[in-house]
């Protein structure tokens, strides 16, 4: 059978309408158990946003304890024991165990139930098939399975707060041997305890990501529209493509490690436990012979590519928005693509830079220090290309553009402050201090999450046919930007003053951070302004939440291409029907043909055929390649 013929036939608009009438799906199949990539994308997005907010709430509770250690949490404090159990916050005062639970679950939920589902799965699902002109993902049922695996995994993580003993409390990295023995013993169920549920939930989350990754890569390879060659793919698609590979290859080793830790906890093996361990003063009866370092290697083999899983989709989103709002082609498209590929490759051989203090040996450290510094090169190329893309553009500061431009310096600060951590001599001092917290939060919070907000504001009209409100978008943006910086900038200073990231009392009991003052406040005293900034920033999300839901029904109605963008998703109706496109999209040109000379409009969409006159006129323009 001729493949191309089959493609042509079922894009026929009449045939499409006919099938649509035949298969009018009920509510449950249409909105809940849907196999449509757009619905699944939105499901992922809403769940991801809820988890992000939940993870943020956990952090806001921790911030109280850090700023005012040992004091009762006002107003809501006395109700929390009813939710999280009497061991969590007796009289509104946080117990150390509960604080540790909040820390571990904040990290886990933010990364694996919040940002990955939102950045990778939600935007990937909704946008990628539209941008490549595909009717759906290649495996719609697998796609639905991926979402439901995620939902189950997330639910297990939530349930773990309510089992006896509370949620996992061994850090989001679950280092052994601590994690192998936490939440065991009297008062804990052998299976339904925090750490074991954390492991089981993780297996579901990993399964979800693997199914998603397979689906994304296959979709991008197989379902690109006619004429959409690799070098005509929007940068966002490239970013998702590399991200999918990272998830595909980095997650399984963690799955293996999680199976082994689960065996350690449930079947009492000793994969990660050395012989001669003494727990609570008593020697434990285990065979020993395991290695705690093995867990760290397997964990960070995922953990570091995961960092790029968090940032690459944001790169992609920001690239789309920068080109669109500066009305200029993205500068150095090829360099961006190759950089993202190099990042993808290098991210697999940098993981041990999280383990400088484990005594791996200087040779190993030297190797990983070198690769870690190498990976900053493609990252800098990408950021530079983004900045140059703005140069000379006629910039429109729409709300998505505000977030996208704010992303650039925020990611820049986050990236540059990582360099001291990459050197193992400097890291000996900075390791496990608030400096590290500030560094990676600059990348993930004002970095990735700004990218995500930008993406939400940008593609909202495509999903709903309506724009989100501009004014409230700005009311959301400015306090969030200021809040992020007031929260995280002082943390660099706290960290350099020696404040440890896992101190439960915010450093009050340690003189080290109190000897020096930073702008008049000791390291400990800085906790309070940071916490207030966090709470105020929490309030600043309210305009976003209201704007988001209000605009679904009442936002300003817009046409199919409100941002005057060039890529294929804007040729589909808003919201796109089942099957996406009215006419089979065909791509004739690159993704960012803004401000072509001699054109009436300042944007030329990918599906506009190249005119004969244009062909002769634009021949010599060479792509700038920065390397």
């Amino acid at each position: 059978m001729d493949a191309s013929a089959s493609v042509e036939t079922h894009h026929d608009p009449h045939a499409h309408n006919a099938t649509h009438e035949h298969h009018e799906l009920g509510f449950w199949r249409k909105y809940i158990f849907s196999t449509d990539h757009k619905v699944i994308g939105i499901q992922y997005g809403l769940c991801g946003l809820c988890f992000l907010f939940f993870g943020f709430c956990l952090m806001m509770m921790m911030r109280w304890q850090l700023a005012y250690p040992g004091q009762a949490l006002p107003v809501i404090g006395k109700w929390l024991p009813y939710i999280f159990g009497p061991g969590s916050m007796p009289d509104g005062k946080m117990t150390p165990d509960f604080y540790n639970s909040l820390g571990a679950m904040h990290g886990t939920i933010m990364i694996f139930a919040g940002v990955v589902p939102l950045a990778f799965a939600a935007f990937g699902n909704f946008v990628v098939p539209l941008q490549i002109g595909a009717p759906d993902m290649t495996f719609p049922k697998v796609n639905a399975a991926s979402f439901w695996a995620f939902a189950v995994g997330g639910l297990i993580m939530l349930i773990s707060f309510f089992v006896p003993g509370g949620a996992a409390k061994s850090g989001w990295t679950s280092y052994t041997p601590l994690a192998a023995f936490s939440d065991t013993g009297p008062g804990h169920n052998p299976v339904f305890n925090g750490q074991t549920l954390w492991l089981i939930g993780f297996i579901f989350l990993i399964t979800s990501s693997l199914l998603g990754a397979i689906n994304f890569i296959t979709t991008i390879i197989q379902l690109r529209a006619k004429g959409l060659t690799w070098m005509r793919l929007p940068f966002f698609v490239w970013a998702q493509f590399v991200t999918a590979f990272l998830l595909l290859l980095a997650f399984p080793p963690l799955e293996g490690a999680i199976i082994m830790q689960l065996m350690d906890r449930v079947a009492h093996t000793s994969f990660f436990l050395p012989a001669g361990l003494v727990v609570n003063g008593a020697p434990v009866s285990i065979s020993g012979g395991g290695s705690p370092l093995l867990w760290q290697h397997l964990f960070w083999f995922l953990g570091h590519p995961e960092v790029y899983v968090l940032i690459l989709p944001a790169f992609g989103i920001v690239a789309e928005i920068l080109a669109n709002n500066s009305r200029k082609p993205l500068w150095g498209y090829k360099s961006l693509v190759f950089s993202v590929l190099v990042i993808g490759f290098l991210s697999f051989i940098v993981w041990a830079h999280h383990m400088w203090l484990t005594g791996m040996g200087t040779a190993v450290s030297a190797f990983f220090q070198t690769t870690t510094l190498l990976i900053s090169i493609p990252s800098v190329i990408i950021l530079s290309a983004f900045f140059i893309s703005l140069w000379g553009g006629s910039i429109r500061f729409t709300v998505p553009m505000l977030f996208a431009t704010a992303f650039l310096p925020m990611f820049g600060i986050g990236g540059l402050t990582g360099i001291p951590l990459a050197f193992n001599s400097a890291d000996l001092y900075l390791h496990d201090t608030y400096y590290v917290i500030a560094h990676f939060h600059y990348i993930v919070a004002p970095g990735t999450i700004f990218g995500l907000f930008a993406g939400i504001y940008y593609w909202f009209p495509k999903a709903t046919g309506r724009k989100m409100n501009d004014l409230w978008g700005k009311v959301h943006f400015w306090p969030t930007l200021i809040g992020m910086n007031v929260i995280f900038l002082p943390m660099f200073l706290q960290g350099m003053a020696g404040m440890h990231r896992r101190w439960y009392d915010g450093g009050q009991g340690w003189n080290v951070s109190n000897e020096h003052t930073i702008w008049g406040l000791t390291g400990f005293q800085w906790n309070a302004p940071i916490s207030w900034a966090a709470w105020i920033m929490g309030l600043a999300q309210i305009p976003f939440i209201i704007n988001f839901f209000w605009s679904i029904k009442h936002g300003e109605k817009v046409n199919d291409n409100p941002w005057e963008a060039t890529t294929l998703e804007w040729t589909a109706p808003s919201p796109p029907p089942h099957g996406n496109f009215v006419h089979t999209p065909v791509a004739y040109r690159g993704p960012y043909e803004y401000s072509l000379p001699g054109r009436e409009r300042d944007f030329t969409m990918q599906n506009e055929p190249v005119e004969p006159a244009e062909r002769t006129r634009r021949k010599p323009a060479a792509e700038p390649v920065l390397v």
Partner: protein, 285 residues
Amino acid sequence: MEIPYTVSTRPDTGLWNAKVGIWLFLASEVMLFGALFSAYIFLRLDAPLGMWPHGVLNVPVGTMNTAILIMSSVTVVLAWAALKMRRYRAYWWYMLATISCGVIFLVVKLGYEWPQKYNHFGAYIKPEELGKYEQYLGNERRAEKGMEPRLEITGHLHSQNAKEYEVALDPVNADPNNPSMDRPHFFPLPVTDKIATIEKEDVERATMFLPTHSAYFASYFTITGLHGMHVLGGVIVFIYMWLPVSKKVYQRNPEHLANRVEVSGLFWHFVDLIWIFVFPLFYLL
């Protein structure tokens, strides 16, 4: 709206969708088992002398299982070829053979080999008490020969009371100084009727051959268990393709079923391949 290239190939990639998908899936599986195998290497290299058991598995049974799995890989290719030739009847029989092989493998593994292990008993003797049990361990001779010491007495646990274990010894402990016991045997030797009494005070750790026994059995049960789950998954998929439901797919478009058999066959070959690694790592080395 249908998704293109589910059955026919995309001209520029030369592939249909599921084939891309299954290869990606197999790549992730390589990483999953890669992690477990690297854990095996890590643990084995780290194991103190005498703490990594040798020759405790049943090699002939393992060899048979290996042959069964390889055979099933052949029959699944024949099943696919039969579909390509549009011979559904032959396909049906080859598929049945494949499913049977998978089921036999699982029954042997979980029904025979595993129980054999967790009915076996082993007691690690405290380092300072090793001399007391020299007649079962033969460590003087081993030290002379430069071999790693024996730290464990194994066999069938006959009875135990508060103070002692009574163990029907494995030949290796019944006759420790016999040079033929220096190397594992291909055919497992039966437990002897020589009974040893081991005082509980002298024992460092005593367990059945369960995952808790040692890093060796922990990785053995984890990896063969995970592999067994993959075999089970493959069998379930094959049963689905063998049932009348799939005949309807065949009647609608025979190529569609052939493709399905091809991708699940690829998965099956992969599961086979994993076993080809598992077998020497645990049975032979």
